[in-house]
Symmetry: C2
Subunit: 451 residues, 2 copies
């Protein structure tokens, strides 16, 4: 791998270019849009996103963890808002564990600066043709309309959920492909800073207004604002379809989210100005072709956003690919990369869909919160052995596939524990330790993480 072309200078493409550039590989990074550092580029995508352990490790590998973390806001847990305005807190992990809200644009700019230390970025270059057999890609300059072709040892498609590279593979190869939309869409709204320039809600949390079939969430930004996202079905009784007039929207928010109305003065304007977008899961195989072409990040595994693992799983693709280059210095590694990542891509896709149910419905349920507390107690009793599913995904580097399978067994055990009569009153007692010990004796091979 001496000469590499990367298509897509989003978060994953830029991080991949950074990694490969630092290895001394000649990298050309192509991006359809203009340079976001110079012009306002409407990315049409989420304003902020979540970074967690897997993401930090990948950024650390190119020395960027500190710089990015300085621009991020820690969120220690979920803050649930009931309709009557009551707040309930649920920590994400152990003391000190947090996920981080980070500006997509800011992080992307940091990465682009880093790429340019070793490699060239070609903005305004749209991929219009791809010759898979010869690893040759043709671009059209969106400004000059001039076309150029470029052949390299390897072409990476890091061009997102609607990847042009993947589309070529889908049409020209025996390629398995699935795109599946959920019934819900999303719309972004804003809670601006207070007149004092402060955050209008508690800053260090991911706020959730869980309403069973739908929900609103809010993540903090460094400027004092929160970006809110409404997740709601497209059709049905409570749906975007039934929110056509300002009156309908006002009534919906008054009934469902009364506490955010005073905090979001531009709610109605934003509601009608901002797009309503769909939520898709995309899976495909193979991720590579003839050791010449490979997919990475959303191009290989676009997932719904409910586990906060979209960017992070793509960053982990990059980190693992880099590890393979270390381990097999003179070998082809694209099939090895695919073998290492494909099942994990499927697993995080499934986990992300599951977590939507948890966020919009279960977190508002007292028995779910009890379950989380009992699980935290078990985790404390068996440190490093019993790790709750959320923590395996968010605060560990265990393969997603393992997290998914161990998590299923944990759920089965917890289901049984929660059947114990009077559990809500005894779970904090000494006697309860014996009960837990009995369960763990039966289940440990299934619910403990493998070393």
């Amino acid at each position: 791998m001496r000469k590499v072309t990367i298509i897509g200078a989003g978060l994953v493409g830029s991080l991949l270019a950074t990694y490969l550039g630092k290895r001394g590989i000649k990298v050309d990074l192509y991006e359809r849009r203009g340079d976001m550092r110079k012009e306002q580029v409407d990315a049409g995508r989420s304003i902020n996103l979540a970074c967690s352990t897997r993401g930090w490790k990948a950024l650390n590998g190119v020395g960027l963890e500190e710089e990015v973390k300085e621009a991020a806001i820690a969120m220690h847990g979920r803050m649930m808002h009931s309709i009557s305005g009551d707040l309930t807190f649920q920590p994400y992990g152990k003391e000190g564990e947090a996920i981080y809200s980070i500006s997509r644009a800011h992080l992307n700019k940091i990465l682009l600066d880093e790429v340019e230390k070793n490699s060239k970025i070609h903005f305004d270059h749209k991929c219009i043709d791809l010759d898979l057999e010869n690893a040759t890609v043709t671009f059209q300059n969106e400004q000059t309309k001039q076309q150029t072709s470029c052949t390299s040892d390897i072409i990476f498609g890091a061009d997102g959920a609607f990847s042009a590279v993947r589309e070529t593979m889908r049409k020209k190869l025996r390629f398995n492909y699935q795109q599946q939309y959920i019934e819900h869409g999303y719309k972004e709204l804003t809670i601006p800073p207070t007149t004092d320039g402060e955050w209008a809600l508690e800053k260090n949390f991911l706020h959730i207004w869980p309403r069973k079939q739908y929900m609103l969430i809010a993540l903090p930004n460094t400027d004092g604002s929160f970006t809110c996202t409404l997740f709601l079905a497209f059709r049905g009784e409570k749906s975007f379809e039934n929110l056509q007039t300002p009156q309908q929207v006002s009534k919906f928010f008054e009934e469902s989210f009364p506490d955010i109305i005073p905090l979001a003065p531009n709610l109605l304007d934003e509601f009608f100005a901002n797009p309503t977008s769909g939520l898709v899961t995309i899976s495909c195989s193979p991720w590579q072709y003839q050791e010449k072409i490979a997919l990475i990040g959303d191009a290989a595994h676009a997932i719904v956003p409910f586990y906060g693992q979209g960017m992070v799983s793509g960053f982990e693709d990059v980190r693992i690919l880099n590890d393979l280059l270390d381990e097999f210095p003179n070998q082809s590694i694209l099939q090895k990369y695919t073998n290492a990542r494909q099942e994990n891509g499927d697993a995080i896709a499934a986990l992300a869909l599951q977590n939507f149910i948890e966020m919009r419905d279960l977190v508002g349920d007292p028995s779910f919160l009890l379950r989380k507390r009992i699980e935290a107690r078990i985790q404390n009793l068996y440190p490093g052995k019993y790790i709750p599913l959320y923590s395996m995904v968010t605060f560990s580097h265990l393969p997603y596939k393992e997290a998914l399978s161990v998590g299923k067994k944990q759920k089965k055990m917890l289901d049984e524990i929660l059947q114990i009569s009077n559990i809500e009153n005894i779970w904090q007692t000494e006697k309860f330790l014996e009960i837990i010990h009995k369960f763990i004796t039966v289940y440990q091979n299934d619910v403990f993480v493998r070393k």
Copy 2:
């Protein structure tokens, strides 16, 4: 529905145009290729295909059953060829029931002639743009390169497994889509007529050389030839990958299909001249958009060929759509059509995948043949009530969905019956009737077809 555009003048598009034209609807039928009646069009597709009960009913609805049947060859059952050349016969259904081998090109020509009695066909017109909201399609004349647009009440995409209409829906709508290839590919070969101009194998059968992981089949043509299809994995020990040289191919056929070597003198030339093609299942939803655009036939549900239901299921789409037009004369019917057909499309896709296992592996197994004989006996004992799965699919108009679900229960019952000790010796006895009766008493609600 007064003005309709149909894209694709293959078998399903032509039949649909015939039905709608006879209703007095103004139909324009567009086809990317030239007129196959005037020029040799390399369709790149199977030379012959199977027609059965559902297909005949659909053809009967436009008065074409007799004409088409005259050009078809009845196949009363499967003729299995063992490696040592032994023949085993397994009937498809009851006495007199058969499936028919028909030339794709001949059938298509009959349909095109019929379309032109009421409607206009535009050959050499490629769909290059589709405006879903306005039901406007733009074509490019492949000869003159001139572009024309056409707006109608409804546009049907009958443009096959790689449908351009479906591609537009996939990209522009929240559209669920899956394409899944099996590990096997196929290659067509020919057994020419004998020097006397006769069929070199028994004419009225579908011949199968089942070899567990792969198989060869042969269907008769009216000119005395058979079209053979080799189904074989792309990779692995026995695979197309390992058939690169004439020596390898000769050795493979000598070991696997020795009895066809003397019958197929051009085997090696054809093997290297003919393409090796993949086998894909495509499913999608929605099949319609805003009562303006709809998918039909392979464009909506491309399936693998192992149940002989590819064309037939598309013809049934057309027949059901026509029934809906009769039933709801002044209503929109595309959503009703989708509701009626979509689950059946998924069911026949699943059945077709299952039948590959049966054809390549089970039909060579004595216990499978015993199972079929016992099942035929049960069918005789409960006429019109117990119909074996193959017959529900092939010789009835029961929804595929029902056939799939009843067939699963039948399999369960037969599995139990085949566990009875000494079954191979007692199944023809009087006493066995009591045993069957007991099973049916337990299972009848599940294994009988609903009236």
